[in-house]
């Protein structure tokens, strides 16, 4: 893809379209649906709760996918703003599954552009998964604590802790499940990059 102003001079060094290694095909394999199904009606973006906060709206994400513009796509943090509320998937007139596509994109992005994941979000995910690694379950007090350490949002929500305690909503000592080894094997086998 050559994005420089087209001119006869630059014509020579324009490489062919589309690029060789194809993100498009990866996603096609990952979710078993072909993104070319999308005809850009925009119903997904129209219903997306996070659209207003995304620089790439859902349909634009799919379009870039169709055009195999991995760089521009994966380097945007929009895919990380998806809540997987599945509204898009539910309403897609072409029976495509944008939510699944975005999940698949995140998985690749995590590997290829780890540092592009918004800090707070990657912090949350790793804190969350760490909880599971450690205890087999999520121990919320630990989750909050770990999250704060990772995200650096140390004092956010601090004022709410007493309230949580008063209502008995925060247990302080974690319980570990017996099958924790099994869980850890799952993690190692799934070979997920630890989001940093």
């Amino acid at each position: 893809m050559n994005t420089s102003a087209p001119s006869p001079a630059s014509a020579g060094d324009i490489h062919s379209f589309p690029p060789a290694k194809s993100l498009l095909s990866k996603i096609r394999n990952a979710i078993g649906l072909d993104p070319v199904l999308c005809y850009q009606c925009g119903k997904c973006s129209a219903g997306c709760p996070m659209a207003s906060e995304m620089d790439l709206k859902t349909h634009e994400i799919i379009r870039l996918l169709q055009l195999d513009l991995g760089e521009r796509l994966l380097s945007s943090d929009s895919i990380w703003l998806c809540l997987t509320c599945e509204t898009c998937t539910t309403r897609c007139p072409m029976e495509f599954d944008p939510a699944a596509a975005i999940d698949a994109l995140r998985e690749i992005a995590l590997r290829e552009y780890p540092d592009r994941v918004p800090r707070s979000i990657s912090a949350f995910h790793s804190a969350f998964l760490d909880q599971i690694r450690m205890h087999g379950r999520v121990f919320e007090f630990g989750l909050v604590a770990f999250y704060k350490l990772r995200s650096g949002a140390l004092f956010g929500d601090v004022e709410s802790v007493p309230g949580m305690l008063a209502r008995g909503k925060l247990g302080l000592k974690p319980k570990r499940i017996q099958g924790i080894q099994e869980v850890r094997r799952i993690f190692s086998q799934c070979a997920t990059e630890k989001p940093r």
């Binding site: 893809m1 050559n2 994005t3 087209p6 006869p8 630059s10 014509a11 020579g12 324009i14 490489h15 062919s16 379209f17 589309p18 072909d34 070319v36 199904l37 005809y39 850009q40 634009e60 379009r63 870039l64 169709q66 055009l67 513009l69 521009r72």
Partner: protein, 672 residues
Amino acid sequence: MSRIGVFICHCGENIGRTVDCVRVAHNLENVPGVVHSIDYKYMCSDPGQALIKQAIRELQLDGVVVGACSPHMHEKTFRKAAAAAGLNPYLCEMANLREHCSWIHEDRERATDKAIGLARFMVEKIKYNRPLATIRIPVERRALVIGGGIAGIQAALDIADGGREVILVEKEPSIGGHMSQLSETFPTLDCSQCILTPRMVEVAQHPNIQLLAYSEVESVEGYIGNFQVKIRRKARSVDEIKCNGCGECQKNCPNQKIPGEFDRGLGMRTAIYVPFPQAVPNIPVIDRAKCAFYRGKAKGVKKAVCGKCAEVCGPKAIDFDQQDSFVTEEVGAIVVATGYQLYSIGKAQESETLRGYGEYGYGAIPDVIDGLQFERLASASGPTGGKILRPSDGKEPKTIVFLQCIGSRDRAKGIEYCSKICCMYVAKHAILYHHKVDHGRAIVFYLDIRAGGKGYDEFVRRAIEESHALYLRGRVSRLFRNGDTICVHGVDTLSGEPVAIDADMVVLATAMRAQPDIASLAQKLSISYDRHGFLNEAHPKLRPVETNTAGVYLAGACQSPRDIPDSVAMASAAAAKVLGLFSNELLEREPLIARVDQLACTGCFHCERVCPYGAIERKQLKDGKGRVIKIVAEVNQGVCQGCGTCQATCPSKSVELEGFTDEQVYAAVNAL
């Protein structure tokens, strides 16, 4: 003294509520000439009509005025009733007391006064109505079809199968039109030749069809049911009777290197040639501009420079001295199916309203071709035997780019309409390309996908989903040569992403345009055409295959860009119209047409100038000794449509429009 009956209808409450029908009837009773005046609840009902008939019979009425609804509603009804009672239907008139009175007024008094006035108008008018007889014109029950493309073929076959003679005129050496050039057809992908050729043969063999190929309409006289058409039979330089279509002449023609029109210049033909193997009729024609014999003669060389074809021709069918000849045919109806021409992409345009696409280098860059050229490449009978190969080096293009809307929806180039078929044939091209070229990449630049039609959108989706054509939304700015590839610069407006593609071949999906010579044909037929040269239908919705000239019908792309199914449907519709017209020996017309008072006529022919239909003819009045006294106007009953513009224009009022004569209008106005 006339004996007029007046019948005032209450229309239930519709008139009665605001108009005092009884008073109206009473008032009219006292009008001189009125011998009978009554009111009734429903005049249009059977008992109502019975009242009228009875009165006509018993009181020998010579005029009937029905005060009821709009004549557009019931004039026919009441005139039929009058006729049934033995009164000439044109001695029955209606006063519109409903739409024009009771429904639009509240004040009963004033509405009633007005109703009386309206009825008076008609009573006074009808005193001057004349009994009129429906006009019957004999119909020549043969049809002319102009154009031998799929539309003309379909129309001709339908009419011929309907049992009527057809003269099919085609200006090219063979019928078949553009469809014969196509490879496959959307959305079914059946081979064009395979479905067309049988129809062409059928035309050639049909007992009711007289095929005049390589001929053109020279002039058209007359009117519906009675056209005289003069047809020019262009000189083929080959005797159609003698020729047996063996093809020896072509084999032996020394000039083998002429770019063939049929293959859009991608293949070669000879100077004496049949445009394509399945041509109908299968009779060659000599291209005199290219033939050595004629060029020699033109140069003034005494002895024949070449005569190979004549030498090898067994039946001695070659006739170098053949001249254009003319035939005149009498027909009752004409179907125009002259089709379209392709928009020419290059800078040079024959019309000053159009501009070409210099930016796409068509003609300059060898591997930039148009859609019809791609059809020839994809066609099994084409110059490459159906292989997609580049004109420049015969290589198979691995990346091919299709540009839609070339000459469509482009004001700057002078065409703002949508050509309708391009979206579909590009999808077809993408699919064909996918079938024919392994690991090929097809990219389409489009503005919108217009795929309304049975199975059409599915077809486009098929190109995208199964043939993996990449559709980019946007117009390409320019094509650049880049070594032996073509660099395509565009933007995908959906992603806002600039795109530059190195393509091996670029196909320009060019617009459909009206035929170049349409204006002269339209004048011959006195039918109208739009600013783009597409012929105008009589009504865009309700009379789509008729024209404003009675007896002339339209089929196919001469009316607007059309695909094959549309063209065929139109053709059958036109044929149905023609057969409907032919279903009677006589054509019946309302007698409300103009009539010239030849004694008073001065022959200034203002009427001729204003007549929209050319219905005014010049007639010599002679004395006993056959000397011309004067030349006066005469109205052709078949052509006149009864607008009356002639009468209002005539300074001496020597032409009268039946049903709306000066005396009738005068009388009405006098009743004020």
